[in-house]
């Protein structure tokens, strides 16, 4: 059986994350064109890689959950999970599963965004 070293696993993980970030960048350019115009494609991919890592740390680990988290990053700004107190409080709620926390984030974000618009 083929076994990979830790370094090989790390390199493979970096590549997979980059690949997924590019996929998310394509999605962001389609769904959030105005936000994407503020930076280059490379900057967008780098920012999304960081957001994907943040989401990973909060237990959001499949394609659908990660896509929705990157949507939030696009409307609230990169780093919102560390910057916004209300988001930190939701993500720290251990009584909720990670998908439930994401749903709470999305719903709260609706009214944060609406408030900003008002």
């Amino acid at each position: 059986m083929l076994q990979l070293s830790n370094d090989q696993w790390g390199a493979l993980a970096d590549a997979k994350r980059r690949q997924f970030a590019e996929e998310m960048a394509d999605r962001a350019e389609r769904r959030h064109p105005a936000a994407c115009r503020k930076c280059s494609r490379e900057e967008l991919i780098a920012a999304l890689e960081r957001e994907i890592q943040t989401a990973h740390g909060h237990g959001l680990r499949n394609r659908g959950l990660l896509a929705r988290f990157t949507d939030l990053s696009m409307v609230l700004g990169a780093g919102f999970a560390e910057r916004e107190d209300w988001a930190q409080a939701i993500l720290a709620n251990t009584r909720l599963t990670p998908p439930q926390r994401l749903a709470e984030l999305e719903e709260a974000a609706v009214f944060v965004v609406k408030g900003q618009g008002a």
Partner: protein, 550 residues
Amino acid sequence: MSLHPLDPEIVAATDDWFYAEHPRGRELCADGTRTPLDATSEEDREGRQAWIAEYRRRLAEKQAGGGDDDGPDDPGGGDDPTDPAEGCNCAADFVIDPHCTIIKAGDSAQFSVSELDGAPAGSYVWTTTSDKLTLANDHASTVRVISTGMPSASRDAETLTVVRSQTGCADITKVIHLTVGKVTFSKAAGQAYGYDDFDTPLDPDDDHVSVKRDADTTVHVEMEGGIVGADFDFECADAGIATCEEAPAMLPSFDLRIDGGSTDKGSTVLRAKVRCPSAQVFREIAVHTYKEREVKVVVGKFHDSTSAGTALRFPNADYAGHQPTINDKVKEAVARFDITNFDAANAQTDVAFDSDGNGALSYDIAAGGGTELTRIATAFTGARTTGRIRIAIIRDMKSYFYLASAAAAGDTTITVRGSRAFDPGRAMPLGTGASQENITIASMSGATLTLSAPLAHAHPAGTPLEFPAGGWSSDPIMIIEGSASLDTIKWTMAHEAGHRDEGLDLRDIVDQTDFMHWMQSWTDYRLRYCPRTKKHGTGTENQWETIPRT
């Protein structure tokens, strides 16, 4: 479907609906201005959920009509697209089973994890950096967390980390914040009745609280580790005997009120139960509800103006005035004294009782009192004594046996009227005047006493043999001033009334911190639930329980 980015057209339509139709929306638009819903407040939670539901419905309608559909929300699970082992069916998460985050100091608790539905089994390792906790079975899905006995420095100060591993998948780590809590009951400064620590102040598990029926008292509750009143239910096992109030929610230290039930005598247990499904008892204390025992006493001060030796040392003493001091102590046993002075003006009463002129009341032991006692008893009557235990204070008293037959010089035995146990080896004066001599009892058989040395003088029948007694359970109770302090005399009064059936019905015991101690050498004046050793006879006496409650 993803909620973001929001569709401005549907947002506007949903707002129109919300502020026109929804009760919360109408509240927020009362003056015609649309106040936004707060993003996180509990007050607006229901309003937010209604808005979101309506938005989703309208969005689904639009997308069904040809709009952009991003697909349904992903509930979780499935592969991690960033995992190099994507396709190996890695679990996206796991669940920590419901648990109580407060652990009883010195006890243990179990924590478990479960896999999400359909997820493959992972392996788990539990760790803690806390010096208040140790772990057992820490390489399994269920771990036992054991408290070392020390409470936490603050709430949620201890962390328990669990790492899920699955071959070919990224580890998933979760942290549980725990509090090691300790609850202790102790005497409250403002308690209305008793608290007996059973002579072990450091052991709160053997303590007892008393409360009067249909009244209340308090017990002090101390919580350590960051826990507060809201974390616990305080309940008595038998609510018919006692109940207690709800603890103040945010305080770690408070006095808890206990209400005595409508029972003359009953015992139950007050428990501090943590507000978790386990309802684990962190501490308990015995609670005793009693009907209050009232002891009615009247105190007279007697002297014989024809006999100088009977003049009182404390003719102005106010014995009724000692009532609050006594009651402050006997309340511990849910009892109280009602003390009045025989003379309305608290004057001493002059009675010509010293018929033998010895400057003291002569007490005929065999007769249960005799002439001189009868004279005081006869004077000590009237409405002010009705229904009360009579206590007579006198300057001095001599207690006598009298020889039943004459004794000659050289005799080594004497016979007295009546019989009583004498302490061998004790010297006692026999006779009066020039023929008086001290004799020492070597042994006794009924009324015949064998002396340790032959008599030096002859003594006729009726010669007094003075017996060293401090007092007798006569009616009235005779209390001598002797050389005692006024405070000692006052507590002797409570002690002797405490012996009476119509008083507290308590025996002499061996405990100088208790005013029922057999000798006037008190260091305190408590009454105890903790059993006290009887001075006479065998066994012990639980004073709270012995006091009649009828």
